[in-house]
Protein backbone atom coordinates (compact mmCIF):
# COMPACT_ATOMS: atom_id res chain seq x y z
CA UNK A 1 0.00 0.00 0.00
CA UNK A 2 2.67 2.41 0.96
CA UNK A 3 4.53 1.72 -2.27
CA UNK A 4 1.85 1.00 -4.85
CA UNK A 5 -1.88 1.54 -5.14
CA UNK A 6 -3.99 -0.06 -7.82
CA UNK A 7 -6.18 2.75 -9.06
CA UNK A 8 -9.41 1.41 -10.53
CA UNK A 9 -9.07 3.92 -13.36
CA UNK A 10 -5.32 4.07 -13.98
CA UNK A 11 -3.84 0.79 -12.80
CA UNK A 12 -0.89 0.21 -10.49
CA UNK A 13 0.64 3.50 -9.38
CA UNK A 14 3.34 4.63 -7.02
CA UNK A 15 2.43 6.25 -3.74
CA UNK A 16 3.75 9.64 -4.73
CA UNK A 17 0.98 10.09 -7.28
CA UNK A 18 -1.52 10.32 -4.43
CA UNK A 19 -2.45 12.81 -1.76
CA UNK A 20 -3.98 11.22 1.30
CA UNK A 21 -7.00 12.94 2.69
CA UNK A 22 -7.93 10.70 5.62
CA UNK A 23 -10.78 8.64 7.03
CA UNK A 24 -13.25 7.70 4.30
CA UNK A 25 -15.91 6.38 6.64
CA UNK A 26 -17.08 9.83 7.68
CA UNK A 27 -20.36 11.13 6.33
CA UNK A 28 -20.94 14.85 6.29
CA UNK A 29 -23.89 15.63 8.57
CA UNK A 30 -27.01 17.43 7.43
CA UNK A 31 -26.88 21.20 7.95
CA UNK A 32 -29.42 20.82 10.70
CA UNK A 33 -27.51 18.12 12.54
CA UNK A 34 -26.43 18.67 16.12
CA UNK A 35 -23.27 20.42 17.22
CA UNK A 36 -22.04 17.09 18.49
CA UNK A 37 -22.57 15.41 15.14
CA UNK A 38 -20.61 18.17 13.44
CA UNK A 39 -17.87 18.06 16.02
CA UNK A 40 -17.51 14.33 15.61
CA UNK A 41 -17.48 14.60 11.84
CA UNK A 42 -14.79 17.24 11.72
CA UNK A 43 -12.69 16.30 14.73
CA UNK A 44 -13.18 12.73 15.91
CA UNK A 45 -11.53 9.76 14.25
CA UNK A 46 -12.00 6.05 14.86
CA UNK A 47 -8.33 5.58 14.03
CA UNK A 48 -8.57 1.80 13.86
CA UNK A 49 -5.66 -0.51 14.33
CA UNK A 50 -6.32 -2.95 11.53
CA UNK A 51 -8.87 -2.58 8.80
CA UNK A 52 -9.63 0.98 7.77
CA UNK A 53 -10.93 2.96 4.82
CA UNK A 54 -9.08 6.03 3.71
CA UNK A 55 -9.45 8.57 0.92
CA UNK A 56 -6.51 8.70 -1.46
CA UNK A 57 -6.72 11.41 -4.07
CA UNK A 58 -5.07 10.35 -7.30
CA UNK A 59 -3.78 13.81 -7.78
CA UNK A 60 -1.21 13.11 -10.48
CA UNK A 61 -3.49 10.66 -12.26
CA UNK A 62 -7.23 10.66 -12.79
CA UNK A 63 -7.81 13.13 -9.95
CA UNK A 64 -10.41 10.84 -8.47
CA UNK A 65 -10.84 10.34 -4.76
CA UNK A 66 -10.40 6.65 -4.16
CA UNK A 67 -11.50 4.70 -1.14
CA UNK A 68 -8.64 2.47 -0.12
CA UNK A 69 -9.61 -0.28 2.24
CA UNK A 70 -6.52 -1.52 3.96
CA UNK A 71 -4.82 -2.61 7.15
CA UNK A 72 -3.04 -0.01 9.23
CA UNK A 73 -0.61 -2.53 10.67
CA UNK A 74 0.31 -4.79 7.77
CA UNK A 75 -0.44 -2.19 5.09
CA UNK A 76 -2.21 -4.87 3.11
CA UNK A 77 -4.77 -3.41 0.69
CA UNK A 78 -8.13 -5.15 0.47
CA UNK A 79 -9.81 -3.00 -2.12
CA UNK A 80 -9.59 0.29 -3.97
CA UNK A 81 -12.79 1.75 -5.36
CA UNK A 82 -13.87 5.09 -6.72
CA UNK A 83 -14.93 7.53 -4.03
CA UNK A 84 -18.12 8.65 -5.69
CA UNK A 85 -19.50 5.16 -5.91
CA UNK A 86 -18.55 4.58 -2.31
CA UNK A 87 -20.15 7.86 -1.23
CA UNK A 88 -23.41 7.00 -2.94
CA UNK A 89 -23.33 3.56 -1.37
CA UNK A 90 -22.73 4.96 2.10
CA UNK A 91 -25.63 7.36 1.81
CA UNK A 92 -28.06 4.63 0.94
Amino acid sequence: MASLITCPHCGVRPKEEFAIRGDASLIRPAPSASDEAWHDYVYVRANPRGRTVEHWHHIAGCRRFLVVERDTVTHEVYSVVDGTAAAREARR
Binding site: H9, C10, G11, V12, R13, P14, E16, E17, H58, I59, A60, G61, C62, R63, R64, D82
Partner: protein
Protein backbone atom coordinates in the same frame (compact mmCIF):
# COMPACT_ATOMS: atom_id res chain seq x y z
CA UNK B 1 -5.31 49.30 -34.02
CA UNK B 2 -5.42 45.80 -35.42
CA UNK B 3 -2.49 43.53 -35.63
CA UNK B 4 -1.44 39.94 -35.83
CA UNK B 5 -0.30 38.50 -32.61
CA UNK B 6 2.57 36.12 -32.44
CA UNK B 7 1.99 32.96 -30.45
CA UNK B 8 5.06 32.12 -28.44
CA UNK B 9 5.79 28.49 -27.69
CA UNK B 10 6.61 27.63 -24.09
CA UNK B 11 9.93 26.11 -25.18
CA UNK B 12 10.74 28.83 -27.65
CA UNK B 13 13.63 29.96 -25.49
CA UNK B 14 15.00 26.44 -25.23
CA UNK B 15 14.60 25.20 -28.78
CA UNK B 16 14.55 28.05 -31.22
CA UNK B 17 17.31 27.57 -33.71
CA UNK B 18 18.28 24.12 -32.50
CA UNK B 19 19.92 22.18 -35.33
CA UNK B 20 17.57 19.51 -36.62
CA UNK B 21 19.55 16.28 -37.02
CA UNK B 22 18.00 13.82 -34.64
CA UNK B 23 19.87 11.09 -32.84
CA UNK B 24 18.52 7.59 -32.45
CA UNK B 25 16.77 8.74 -29.32
CA UNK B 26 15.00 11.97 -30.03
CA UNK B 27 12.60 14.32 -28.35
CA UNK B 28 10.42 16.16 -30.78
CA UNK B 29 8.41 19.03 -29.41
CA UNK B 30 5.16 19.62 -31.20
CA UNK B 31 5.16 23.15 -32.43
CA UNK B 32 1.49 23.61 -33.10
CA UNK B 33 -1.39 21.35 -32.43
CA UNK B 34 -4.82 21.81 -31.03
CA UNK B 35 -5.59 20.24 -27.69
CA UNK B 36 -8.83 20.30 -25.78
CA UNK B 37 -10.21 18.88 -22.59
CA UNK B 38 -13.48 17.06 -23.00
CA UNK B 39 -15.56 16.51 -19.88
CA UNK B 40 -18.49 14.20 -20.47
CA UNK B 41 -21.78 15.03 -18.83
CA UNK B 42 -22.47 12.77 -15.92
CA UNK B 43 -23.85 9.50 -17.31
CA UNK B 44 -22.84 10.13 -20.90
CA UNK B 45 -19.22 9.02 -20.65
CA UNK B 46 -19.55 6.07 -23.00
CA UNK B 47 -21.44 8.01 -25.62
CA UNK B 48 -18.85 10.76 -25.62
CA UNK B 49 -15.99 8.32 -25.90
CA UNK B 50 -17.72 6.66 -28.82
CA UNK B 51 -18.25 9.97 -30.57
CA UNK B 52 -14.65 11.03 -30.08
CA UNK B 53 -13.23 7.71 -31.21
CA UNK B 54 -15.17 7.87 -34.44
CA UNK B 55 -13.01 10.63 -35.87
CA UNK B 56 -9.64 9.47 -37.18
CA UNK B 57 -8.07 12.94 -37.13
CA UNK B 58 -8.52 13.16 -33.39
CA UNK B 59 -6.41 11.27 -30.99
CA UNK B 60 -7.87 10.63 -27.63
CA UNK B 61 -5.90 10.71 -24.41
CA UNK B 62 -7.47 9.27 -21.31
CA UNK B 63 -7.24 11.46 -18.21
CA UNK B 64 -9.83 10.02 -15.90
CA UNK B 65 -13.42 8.81 -15.91
CA UNK B 66 -15.29 10.89 -18.47
CA UNK B 67 -12.33 13.15 -19.12
CA UNK B 68 -9.99 13.20 -22.08
CA UNK B 69 -7.47 15.37 -23.78
CA UNK B 70 -8.20 15.42 -27.48
CA UNK B 71 -5.26 16.16 -29.76
CA UNK B 72 -5.56 17.23 -33.34
CA UNK B 73 -2.67 17.77 -35.68
CA UNK B 74 -4.91 19.14 -38.41
CA UNK B 75 -7.21 21.59 -36.69
CA UNK B 76 -6.56 25.04 -35.36
CA UNK B 77 -7.55 25.47 -31.71
CA UNK B 78 -10.73 27.23 -32.77
CA UNK B 79 -11.35 24.60 -35.42
CA UNK B 80 -10.98 21.81 -32.90
CA UNK B 81 -13.38 23.49 -30.52
CA UNK B 82 -15.88 23.80 -33.33
CA UNK B 83 -15.41 20.20 -34.37
CA UNK B 84 -15.78 18.92 -30.84
CA UNK B 85 -18.84 21.03 -30.25
CA UNK B 86 -20.42 19.42 -33.24
CA UNK B 87 -19.30 15.96 -32.24
CA UNK B 88 -20.36 16.01 -28.63
CA UNK B 89 -21.27 19.52 -27.60
CA UNK B 90 -24.56 18.41 -26.13
CA UNK B 91 -23.00 15.56 -24.24
CA UNK B 92 -19.82 17.12 -22.94
CA UNK B 93 -18.10 20.33 -21.94
CA UNK B 94 -15.22 21.22 -24.17
CA UNK B 95 -12.34 23.40 -23.04
CA UNK B 96 -9.54 24.66 -25.25
CA UNK B 97 -6.15 23.78 -23.81
CA UNK B 98 -4.06 24.33 -26.95
CA UNK B 99 -2.08 27.08 -25.28
CA UNK B 100 -2.08 25.44 -21.89
CA UNK B 101 -0.44 22.18 -22.90
CA UNK B 102 2.79 21.26 -24.60
CA UNK B 103 3.20 18.00 -26.49
CA UNK B 104 6.50 16.18 -26.68
CA UNK B 105 7.22 13.06 -28.65
CA UNK B 106 9.94 10.75 -27.42
CA UNK B 107 11.21 8.13 -29.82
CA UNK B 108 14.07 5.72 -30.05
CA UNK B 109 15.33 2.36 -28.86
CA UNK B 110 16.01 3.67 -25.37
CA UNK B 111 12.77 5.60 -24.97
CA UNK B 112 11.47 3.18 -22.36
CA UNK B 113 14.65 3.25 -20.34
CA UNK B 114 14.64 7.03 -20.43
CA UNK B 115 11.08 7.25 -19.22
CA UNK B 116 11.67 4.65 -16.51
CA UNK B 117 13.90 7.20 -14.82
CA UNK B 118 10.89 9.31 -14.04
CA UNK B 119 7.77 7.25 -14.42
CA UNK B 120 6.64 4.64 -11.94
CA UNK B 121 4.49 2.72 -14.36
CA UNK B 122 5.45 -0.50 -16.08
CA UNK B 123 6.07 0.49 -19.69
CA UNK B 124 6.61 -3.03 -20.97
CA UNK B 125 4.41 -3.43 -24.07
CA UNK B 126 2.53 -6.20 -22.31
CA UNK B 127 1.59 -3.77 -19.55
CA UNK B 128 1.30 -0.50 -21.44
CA UNK B 129 0.37 -1.24 -25.00
CA UNK B 130 0.36 0.89 -28.09
CA UNK B 131 -2.68 3.11 -28.08
CA UNK B 132 -2.68 3.36 -24.30
CA UNK B 133 -2.68 6.71 -22.57
CA UNK B 134 -2.89 7.84 -18.98
CA UNK B 135 -2.12 10.64 -16.61
CA UNK B 136 1.04 9.87 -14.73
CA UNK B 137 3.79 11.45 -12.68
CA UNK B 138 7.13 11.99 -14.38
CA UNK B 139 9.62 12.93 -11.72
CA UNK B 140 7.72 15.59 -9.85
CA UNK B 141 5.56 16.69 -12.77
CA UNK B 142 2.12 15.39 -13.70
CA UNK B 143 1.80 14.61 -17.40
CA UNK B 144 -0.31 12.63 -19.79
CA UNK B 145 1.61 9.77 -21.35
CA UNK B 146 0.58 7.92 -24.48
CA UNK B 147 2.21 5.09 -26.33
CA UNK B 148 1.86 5.69 -30.02
CA UNK B 149 4.32 3.06 -31.18
CA UNK B 150 6.66 0.37 -29.94
CA UNK B 151 9.35 2.93 -29.20
CA UNK B 152 7.26 6.02 -29.48
CA UNK B 153 5.68 7.93 -26.63
CA UNK B 154 3.87 11.23 -26.43
CA UNK B 155 3.94 13.36 -23.35
CA UNK B 156 1.54 16.22 -22.76
CA UNK B 157 2.46 18.62 -20.01
CA UNK B 158 1.03 21.81 -18.62
CA UNK B 159 2.65 24.80 -20.23
CA UNK B 160 4.15 26.28 -17.08
CA UNK B 161 5.94 23.01 -16.34
CA UNK B 162 7.18 22.48 -19.89
CA UNK B 163 10.67 23.84 -19.37
CA UNK B 164 11.20 21.81 -16.21
CA UNK B 165 9.94 18.66 -17.86
CA UNK B 166 12.09 19.30 -20.89
CA UNK B 167 15.18 19.75 -18.72
CA UNK B 168 14.34 16.60 -16.80
CA UNK B 169 13.90 14.56 -19.97
CA UNK B 170 17.19 15.75 -21.37
CA UNK B 171 18.90 14.73 -18.14
CA UNK B 172 17.16 11.36 -18.20
CA UNK B 173 18.31 10.89 -21.76
CA UNK B 174 21.87 12.12 -21.47
CA UNK B 175 23.39 8.64 -21.35
CA UNK B 176 21.70 7.89 -24.69
CA UNK B 177 22.61 11.18 -26.38
CA UNK B 178 19.00 12.25 -26.52
CA UNK B 179 18.53 15.05 -29.02
CA UNK B 180 15.66 17.52 -29.13
CA UNK B 181 14.06 19.86 -31.63
CA UNK B 182 10.76 21.40 -32.60
CA UNK B 183 8.75 19.40 -35.05
CA UNK B 184 8.43 20.93 -38.47
Amino acid sequence: MVRDYNNRHALDQKLRGTPKPANADHLEVGHWQAIATVLAHVGLETAVERALSSTPELSLRYCGPGEWLVVSEVDTPVGLMRRLDMLCGTQAHVVDQSDGRVLMRLSGPCARRILAKGIGVDLHPAAFARGGSTNVLCGHIAINLARTGEDLFELIVSRSFAESLFDDLMTMGRAFDLSAAFSD
